[in-house]
């Protein structure tokens, strides 16, 4: 279907999907916007692709796109302007370089400890991912205001 790729009001970014990633489609869209913000592809005031454009490009359900845009809006990253579309509003919290260096140092200490206890790198990755998963899930279920990710609690809306 003919979408004008030269259009002036077209968004600076375009979404793609990785069907093999196992990440839900709406989350892939959210991640791509966040990623584009971090890397400077998107700046304040930029427009996100219109819902019908995303739908026509990717052949996905419009409700999925709306869900992603609602998610971004609730994070304070975007704002919807009635009749116009969705625009970048906020910036992602950037952690400064000193902060990164500090975290890296403590992680290196932990890695040495893990290796000394006999874990190889595959084992370290497995331990880290399962702990991270538990950590984020405990936080989402503990946080009453957090998304309807009541997966663990079972009480889906």
């Amino acid at each position: 279907m003919g979408i004008d790729k030269q259009g002036i009001d077209r968004s600076p970014i375009v979404f793609t999907l990785d069907p093999a990633s196992g990440v839900p489609t709406y989350l892939q869209l959210v991640h791509q916007v966040e990623h584009a913000l971090r890397l400077g592809y998107l700046k304040q005031g930029d427009q996100l692709p219109k819902v019908r454009e995303v739908v026509a490009d990717l052949a996905i359900n419009p409700n999925t796109v709306l869900k992603a845009y609602r998610d971004l809006e609730s994070k304070g990253l975007t704002a919807g302007r009635p009749g116009q579309g969705t625009f970048i509003e906020g910036a992602l919290d950037q952690i400064d370089l000193a902060g990164v260096a500090g975290l890296r140092k403590s992680l290196l200490g932990w890695l040495t400890q893990a290796e000394d206890s006999g874990l190889d790198s595959d084992g370290i990755v497995a331990l880290f991912s399962s702990t991270l998963r538990d950590f984020t899930e405990r936080r989402t279920t503990g946080d009453a205001g957090g998304k309807a990710r009541a997966r663990r609690a079972g009480g889906a809306a």
């Binding site: 279907m1 003919g2 999907l17 069907p19 196992g22 489609t25 819902v51 019908r52 739908v55 026509a56 490009d57 990717l58 052949a59 996905i60 359900n61 419009p62 409700n63 999925t64 796109v65 399962s130 899930e137 405990r138 279920t141 309807a148 990710r149 009541a150 997966r151 663990r152 609690a153 079972g154 009480g155 889906a156 809306a157």
Partner: protein
């Protein structure tokens, strides 16, 4: 408003029950995938919804209580049957002319523009068009009636992957632009993951699972743990693949459950395809009582 509502809907052909005691309440605004093996009763359900078949027992209404098959229902529903029915010797222009004269409301301008956008030669006979173009032409004729509910029976079964993508993109665009609801049947599970946000799973003429996909995914979980580990009474086990050491479970977590998964079990979210497969398997295993399955 519910776009489709059925109560104890049953359709028998002779002694064979093609659909049995089907009760559904599908809200508007979704793309509803009716999924199941061949001969499960998908087409029967669709035919009852559009009014091409009359129920043996039970009730079916559309678009907020309008009886299926009534004039008001026919005006607001567009149906594309399996195999994209077109007169093969008629051209796109002829088909538009014919469809306009067979319907009370038809947007000729929209249909012509869409044929033009798709690059379909207006004078070429439908039989000479590619499979993808025929499907798009049939969809155009359906959409030009500006329905509130679009019903598609196995729309992409005969299409190559590219034509399939373009067809679904066109359906989704109509959804985004005009807010229509879509009911489609398919036995290809994998391609529904991105498009369907409401699932109706049918096998052997009965509804096994139905609901908003997000809710269904949210209340099921894939679990891996030691076989000897105690199982939570809040779990209803849909699929159990166990050896002496390890168990892989697909469980439905009771709505009343408030605690997380016990340590020792590793939980992962389930995909729509895995979920549908597990429910289809469950209904074919002899030891499962159907009463426990019907929701």
């Amino acid at each position: 408003m519910n776009v489709v509502e059925t109560r104890d809907l049953t359709k028998r052909y002779g002694k064979v029950a093609a659909l049995q005691d089907c009760s559904l309440a599908i809200p508007e605004g979704h793309l509803v995938a009716v999924v199941g093996p061949n001969g499960a009763g998908k087409s029967t359900l669709l035919n009852l919804v559009v009014g091409l078949a009359a129920p043996t027992a039970g009730e079916v209404s559309v678009l907020g209580g309008v009886p299926a098959g009534s004039a008001a229902a026919l005006d607001a529903i567009a149906f594309v049957a399996q195999d994209m029915p077109l007169y093969r010797s008629l051209s796109a222009v002829d088909m538009i002319h014919l469809t306009r004269n067979l319907n009370r409301h038809f947007d000729t301008e929209y249909a012509r523009r869409r044929i033009d956008d798709l690059g379909i030669a207006p004078k070429r006979r439908a039989g000479k068009l590619s499979g993808g173009q025929r499907a798009q032409l049939a969809l155009t004729l359906a959409l030009a009636r500006h329905p509130r509910l679009l019903v598609l029976d196995e729309p992409t079964a005969a299409l190559d992957p590219l034509a399939r993508h373009d067809f679904m993109a066109a359906v989704m665009t109509a959804m985004a632009e005009d807010g229509i609801s879509v009911l489609l049947s398919s036995h290809v599970l994998a391609e529904l993951e991105r498009v369907a946000d409401y699932l109706v799973l049918i096998s052997h003429g009965q509804v096994r699972l139905d609901g908003v996909v997000e809710d269904l995914i949210g209340r099921h979980l894939l679990l891996t743990g030691p076989s000897l580990q105690a199982r939570d009474p809040d779990w209803r086990i849909i699929q159990d693949i166990s050896t002496s050491a390890q168990s892989h479970l697909l469980v439905e977590i009771a709505e009343s459950s408030t605690h997380g998964v016990a340590p020792g079990w590793e939980g992962r979210p389930v995909s729509l395809e895995q979920l549908a497969m597990a429910y289809l398997r469950e209904t074919t295993s002899p030891q499962t009582s159907l009463a426990g399955v019907a929701r």
